[in-house]
């Protein structure tokens, strides 16, 4: 019996899993995502810097919140994306899982670094100190170091398949730090305030501040989605390039 694979249209799973299919179906999304991200940043920055009022206690420094909170949110969100991708590598051996994990790592490291810097610059005028070894700040610093370790590991291996499995295990062990970052402000007495945005809806922030914060958080999240997509597409291209360069070298040698 023969099966005509060529005549069969690829299903949704192979469209998602096959790198070639992934490149084809994601191509039309790149520029619209870039445009939408730029638009959201324009609106978000207008609301954050011009339209929103100063805080009655913090004054103008509250404006740092509109960049600090989105970066801090991304530091945890990107790690969650990498942890899911690591499960994809180890459990389902999804061909794009380690591509997704590798593409996300430098983005996570940068946004975590920016959360630490912006937090520090917000802490000095509001708390009187750039740094405090409390639960939230220390666990975020550890998260930053874990990200740097993962970026370094990706650079240390030549074979991305082998690297993917080793780094997936390391990423899942490092994921233990995420609940510590998230709940540190509830577990320990700390200088750091509790969560600014709550899914339970018990907000203590007026809409004039909550709306700019939500728009900026959405803008930063979309920035991550766009950069992640572009970097995943580049990583697939890089792996093709390695194969083709080996092929060309073998042709020259033989």
């Amino acid at each position: 019996m023969t099966v005509d694979f060529a005549a069969k249209k690829p299903g949704w799973f192979s469209r998602l899993a096959n790198p070639g299919q992934f490149l084809a179906w994601t191509a039309p999304f790149v520029w619209p995502l870039v445009a939408l991200t730029a638009l959201l940043f324009a609106v978000g920055l207008y609301l954050a810097l011009i339209a929103s009022p100063p805080d009655y206690q913090m004054g103008q420094t509250v404006r740092i919140m509109y960049i600090h909170v989105p970066n801090a949110w991304l530091s945890e969100f990107i790690y969650a994306v990498m942890a899911v991708a690591s499960l994809g590598t180890l459990v389902w051996r999804h061909p794009l899982a380690d591509v997704a994990a590798k593409a996300a790592a430098p983005l996570g490291a940068t946004f975590t670094g920016l959360a630490l810097i912006s937090g520090s610059l917000w802490g000095r005028p509001t708390w009187g100190t750039y740094w405090q070894w409390d639960g939230r700040m220390t666990s975020t610093l550890i998260l930053f170091l874990i990200y740097l370790g993962i970026v370094a590991l990706w650079r240390a291996f030549d074979d991305p398949g082998r690297a993917g499995r080793v780094i997936a295990v390391f990423t899942l062990i490092g994921a233990l730090d995420i609940p510590v970052v998230k709940y540190s402000v509830d577990w320990w007495n700390t200088l750091h305030q509790p969560a600014s945005i709550s899914l339970m809806g018990d907000e203590h922030m007026p809409p004039s501040m909550l709306i700019p914060l939500l728009v900026m958080t959405f803008a930063f999240t979309l920035l991550f989605v766009t950069l992640h997509l572009v970097r995943m597409r580049t990583e697939i291209g890089r792996r093709r390039l390695t194969t083709l360069e080996r092929q060309a070298a073998a042709r020259l040698a033989g």
């Binding site: 810097l49 404006r63 810097i117 572009v230 291209g237 083709l244």
Partner: protein, 60 residues
């Protein structure tokens, strides 16, 4: 524009740091994508293609 009080330097520094970081990520992603694309195009021009692409190119 917002009136900057004596804490204005911290607001400016925080926004500057985040802007530099974000622009760095964007420029790095764009340059990396362009470098890989142009090297793939060079190899393609030299006739070095994946076996699956060669099959597609030679099929009627």
């Amino acid at each position: 524009m917002i009136p900057l009080d004596h804490d204005g330097i911290f607001i400016v520094a925080a926004y500057a740091a985040v802007t530099i970081g974000v622009l760095g990520l964007i420029v790095y992603a764009a340059l990396d994508a362009r470098r890989v694309k142009s090297r793939l195009a060079t190899l393609d021009a030299q006739g070095v293609r994946r076996r699956s692409d060669q099959r597609t190119a030679s099929s009627p």
